[in-house]
């Protein structure tokens, strides 16, 4: 008897994304370019983070009509974002058969206290995290995949680096903990001790962990892989650059050949201007998307 929507099946799709690049797209044409460039999946959204940042206002889930057009236009899996805690936006996407939902701090949160109970869904969710505690709290809510938050829409990789290093550092710390120390650590992080024990045994998160938020160049992608990311999301970095297709292809190659400086140097040559970007240190707290949940 075939069983659908199990934890294994949900986490399994995330396993298939590893070593790949997931690209933000806002139109059918962009989705086709992303597929042509070798993206493992596309993230359908109404506005890319750089524009949300610039234009302000409330950012919501994309028009289901647009999501549907993108699903019809490409053969690779399609993801879409919903606001944090917005159960109904997620139900709409699940009904439509989107392959993965990103409960994302890039959109304006719908619930300032609770995240979606993701165990109730047949399709998998990915959520952002800045550290091990956030990551494991999302996993205990049913997230089948984690990504760093970074600082979306800036083209500045430094926050993604900070978050990836934080998660990896905390995992290493947990690996060396004695049982009594682990119990206290679980309490401090606000996570289930069973889950933390799993991290200690595996030496990594129990789900796939991607990098996101500020990746703009092939070298940025390679850097995140070097720090232990399983793959990368690129948001504004591609379609806010002056020549998206070659840059997208180069980022795909860099994510595979992150250990190979020869390939990295070849694919990085001659790319037209990247997105202009914002130094993440110049943002005031209110403008930061990463602090919208924890």
């Amino acid at each position: 008897m075939a069983e659908i929507g199990t934890t294994k099946v949900k986490r399994g799709l995330a396993e298939m994304f590893k070593g790949g690049v997931i690209m933000d797209v806002t139109t059918v044409d962009q989705a086709k370019i992303a597929e042509e460039a070798g993206a493992v999946s596309v993230m359908a959204l109404e506005r890319i983070p750089a524009d949300i940042r610039k234009e302000g206002g409330v950012a919501r889930a994309a028009d289901p009509g647009l999501v549907e057009q993108i699903m019809d236009a490409v053969s690779i899996p399609v993801m879409a974002k919903v606001r944090i805690g917005h159960i109904s936006e997620a139900r709409i996407l699940e009904y439509m058969g989107v392959d993965f939902i990103d409960e994302s701090e890039v959109l304006t949160p719908a619930d300032v206290t609770y995240h979606i109970d993701k165990w109730q869904f047949k399709i998998p969710f990915v959520c952002g995290a800045r550290n091990l505690g956030e990551a494991l709290r999302r996993v205990s809510e049913g997230a089948a995949m984690i990504r760093t938050k970074g600082e979306p829409g800036t083209g500045d990789v430094s926050e993604a680096v900070t978050h990836m290093r934080a998660v990896m550092n905390e995992v290493r710390k947990v690996q060396s903990m004695l049982e009594d120390e682990l119990v206290v650590e679980a309490k401090d992080l606000g996570v289930n001790v069973e889950l933390l024990r799993e991290v200690r045994t595996l030496g990594r998160l129990p789900v796939v962990n991607f990098a996101a938020g500020g990746i703009a160049t092939p070298a940025d992608a390679a850097l995140m892989m070097t720090l232990g990311a399983d793959g990368v999301f690129v948001g504004s970095g591609i379609f806010k650059s002056s020549d998206p297709l070659p840059r997208a292809k180069a980022i795909v190659a860099a994510t595979t050949y992150w250990e190979d400086p020869k390939v990295l140097s070849e694919v990085s040559k001659g790319l037209k201007a990247g997105m202009p970007g914002i130094d993440a240190r110049t943002l005031v707290e209110l403008d930061k998307m990463q602090v919208r949940d924890n």
């Binding site: 099946v9 070593g19 790949g20 699940e94 047949k122």
Partner: protein, 196 residues
């Protein structure tokens, strides 16, 4: 004997650890020159269009086909790997693939992710069922005369063999049952002996 795992994209880490668990030497393969160092090659699950493009761009596809045709390589493809191995891909013939396995595959034959599933599967030659995961999985819609079907579901064959080529729509690497990998290692052993 050395088992290679094509590490362009996908769940190559899981295949590598399962092969290592079975006691063989494992090597990740990303460049054409690395293909010549292995007797068996596993093409993992992942995104077939991504893997296909990278294979062509870096010349890994030619290296695999040449070594296979020289009788020095056994190949096992899972899910995306099955698509990459196939001769024909329904509705997507233009995507880069190796064309070695005489079948036609249909991508995402079960539907989108919400139709992905796990189940117990009867497999020819195994005395107990295999617990398998289908993730946006392909199904075979045509098999050539030299292709043996080892398991099927309602939609069609999902596990096939053609000489030293093995392909499954499902992902044994995501579970703990090693029987499919053990079968593949025996095929790779034959290639390895051939070389001496």
């Amino acid at each position: 004997m050395v088992i290679g795992v094509l590490a362009l994209q996908g769940d190559f880490r899981e295949h590598a650890s399962m092969a290592r668990f079975l006691g063989v030497e494992v090597r990740l393969v990303r460049l054409p020159e690395e293909v010549g160092l292995v007797d068996g090659l596993i093409i993992p699950g992942g995104e077939s269009t991504t893997m296909g493009k990278l294979m062509v761009k870096y010349g890994v596809d030619r290296a695999i086909v040449d070594r296979f045709n020289a009788g020095k390589l056994a190949i096992y493809g899972t899910c995306a790997g099955m698509i990459v191995l196939a001769r024909d891909i329904e509705g997507s013939q233009a995507q880069p693939h190796l064309g070695l396995l005489d079948v036609t595959v249909q991508r995402n034959a079960f539907g989108r992710q919400k139709e992905s599933s796990e189940e117990d599967l009867e497999v020819q030659g195994l005395d107990t069922p295999l617990h398998v995961l289908f993730i946006r999985a392909p199904v075979i819609v045509r098999t050539g005369s030299s292709v043996e079907v080892l398991a099927r579901v309602t939609q069609g064959p999902v596990y096939v063999q053609q000489g030293r080529l093995l392909a499954s729509s499902f992902h044994p690497e995501l579970g703990s049952d090693t029987r499919v990998h053990e079968h593949f290692l025996r095929l790779a052993e034959q290639s390895s002996n051939q070389e001496v």
